[in-house]
């Protein structure tokens, strides 16, 4: 019996040497790339509001008369929001602008030690509410559209439940709602079953103050450890000689490892109430002393999930339908993973028109 490789040893050696030469050639390309070549956030924008670390941007509209009700993008706290505008051909923002939307984005910044005491109340009733007010004031004072992503979706659900009159239409993308869905490693590891035996959140926050972004990132990478730690770099060999693809890869790498620290108290509540207690769907979450009742979200809602999502498993997002009070609820999905929702060519082609059309129909 032979080793099940077509083991002409010399050919195998040649294949390896060829691979290596490809890597070496790619290394020369790699060495020429500078920081400015791979920066995310490509669409022109202006700062319209600033508070502590937070900056609210308005992207420059691409049509003369944009859709009158603006969109405010509320991103997660655990990653940087430039993923929605990573590069010209992979930009949710740019595609929405092209479709005549008027788009604002909250950039949370990087929490410092001084932000260790920020609570979810500060984020939801403070920062998000202030940004919503700023946008409303700039557009006649009426309710606005919120496009919320991942953890930003969870925060926006709380916000909309607490301030329903300020939100015209709510869009949630890859948003966790039921945190006890067992398919999700994040749910399991955060202690949805094991509780403090899985992770003692109080001790973690007391020990670290702010939770290091690297700690969060390690958790994400461990969900597909070998693919993300080794396999990805084997696949990378194929694009090393393609300058454009290499830059795209590096932009993505930059984003993946650009993980802000998490403000300690906000992290404590999010992990204990949402992940461990699953209180959002039970109506037991309290923000600023007020209970969050998803049933109070009665305006139109579009919920978009990724069918192959390993971070937020589909059932976790789909669960929203059972708890939201809206009678105008739309569910959409795309056959991609969590990150594919931002970068997949198919999603970039289909998602922005889906959003724009859905909003226009509810003008």
């Amino acid at each position: 019996m032979r080793f099940p490789l077509p083991l002409n040893p010399h050919e195998t050696a040649r294949e390896l040497i060829d691979l290596n030469q490809k890597v070496l050639k790619g290394m020369e390309n790699l060495g020429r790339i500078r920081e400015q070549d791979i920066q995310g956030g490509v669409s022109p924008k202006e700062e319209v509001y600033r508070e502590d670390n937070l900056v609210l941007y308005r992207f420059t509209p691409m049509v003369d008369r944009p859709f009158p009700i603006p969109i405010l993008i509320v991103y997660a706290l655990v990653n940087r929001p430039y993923m929605v505008d990573l590069q010209e051909d992979r930009s949710l923002v740019r595609n929405l602008l092209k479709l005549g939307m008027d788009v604002y984005l909250i950039d949370w910044g990087y929490p410092s030690r001084a932000d260790r005491w920020l609570t979810l109340d500060d984020y939801i009733n403070g920062y998000v509410d202030n940004c919503v007010d700023v946008v409303r004031e700039r557009h006649g004072g009426g309710p606005i559209n919120i496009l919320s992503i991942c953890q930003g979706g969870t925060l926006s659900l709380c916000y909309t439940a607490l301030h329903p009159t300020k939100v015209k239409n709510l869009i949630t993308m890859v948003t966790p709602v039921d945190f006890h869905v067992k398919e999700g490693f994040a749910n399991l590891w955060a202690g949805c079953d094991a509780g403090t035996q899985g992770m003692n959140i109080d001790d973690l926050v007391d020990a670290f103050g702010n939770i290091p972004g690297e700690f969060m990132n390690l958790g994400f990478l461990m969900m597909k450890p070998f693919q993300l730690g080794v396999g990805k770099y084997i696949d990378m060999i194929d694009i090393l000689d393609n300058d454009e693809k290499l830059r795209n890869f590096l932009r993505m790498e930059e984003w993946i490892f650009d993980s802000p620290d998490q403000a300690g108290e906000a992290y404590r509540q999010f992990m204990k109430d949402f992940y461990q207690g699953n209180k959002l769907i039970k109506g037991e979450v309290k923000i600023g002393g007020k209970p969050v009742d998803l049933g109070k979200i009665r305006g139109p809602a579009l919920n978009v999930y990724a069918e192959e999502d390993h971070l937020v498993p589909p059932p976790s997002s789909i669960a929203l339908q059972r708890y939201i009070g809206s009678t105008d609820y739309t569910l959409r999905s795309f056959p991609v993973g969590h990150i594919g929702m931002y970068v997949s060519g198919k999603v970039q082609r289909d998602l922005p028109p889906t959003i724009a059309q859905w909003l226009k129909e509810r003008g």
Binding site: Q197, K224, P225, L228, M236
Partner: protein
Amino acid sequence: MHWTEQTETMAKALVETQKQVWKQWCELMPGVPSPTPFYSGPPGQGGEEAAEGFKAWTAESAQVVKDVADRLLTTQQELLRFLELSLRAWKTIAPKIEAGEDWHAALFNFTDTLRRQLLQFPQEIQKAFQDSNELWRLYCEQWKGLVQPWTESMRRAPWHFGQASAGDGSALIEFTNIYWDAYERTFGRLLESPSLGHSREMNEDLLKGFDAWLDYRRASFEYQVTLGQTWIHAFEEIMRRLVAQAEKGETVPGVRQLLSLWVEVVDHTFTEVFRSEEYILLQGQVVNAATAYRIREREIADAFLKASHLPSRRELDEGYRRIYELRKEVKELRKAVQAIKGEVSARATGEAVGGKPADLPKDTAGKPILHILSPSACWTTTVATTVPPDEQ
């Protein structure tokens, strides 16, 4: 070509390939010593030299470029190591298969040797647990330097995982001890400080820290063993798949396809384990023990800082908390002022058009608070609004 000849030739080709690979790497990077010494050295040696040279070569590049280049280099090392290991395993089990004997036992013996090699460091650590003097020495050795390398350790963890998954026992140690590097470079100086070394409180803190450290080491050891075992299972599974393909007369068309199989099987095996209740509790033990130790460490650091006339972490946090509360209060006041301004403006507009003026907000004495627009009155109003109803 018979398999014996085939594997012998393949082994030679692999060694030659490794030489070529590292030679090319070193040629790419000026300033790296001649590759000659590692022609006769162990397989990984050339990679280490290439890595050293590479650091200098990418010194001017963006951080992400340095990181990616580093990972790429590591991946190459792991790839070669995996191929070499697979070949060795195949050489062990192929005669059994050919003779129609039980190859599973041969594979088990092979992986058992691997298992012992992979876990030899933890066993040494386990022995050390039985010697309290040795443990104290190890504990004290951890407290070196006041640098804060925690985040760096975590940042590098996925790489160590990659190496560990390719059978590198020392990398497994690196990976599972993501906090360990931090200890090695933390606080050793404290113990050398006479003013602190004789302090009863300090000694007490150190002893508490020692207990926490032991708990962490135990948890880390168990975690490490589990990861090691999982990797061995993954490797066995790869070999089983290859045997099954060989028995059917199928082949893996090339190195890339073999590597894809490697990635798929290892990830699948690990994710199955990661999902288990045992693993979740084990991981929880490591995180919680590391966190408990971190809290003890902070207490010791705070004592040191206090003795050195420096603000402690606790004091800084308290200061930040007060700033945070004040900042929040100022924001609430601003909002209140804005709201009142709006009402005043609405009232003025109402009067101008001859309509009925809106009711103005009143203070606890029932007086309108038009004067709120002055900063001093602003504070008065806040106080008034925060008086409990039963005291009003």
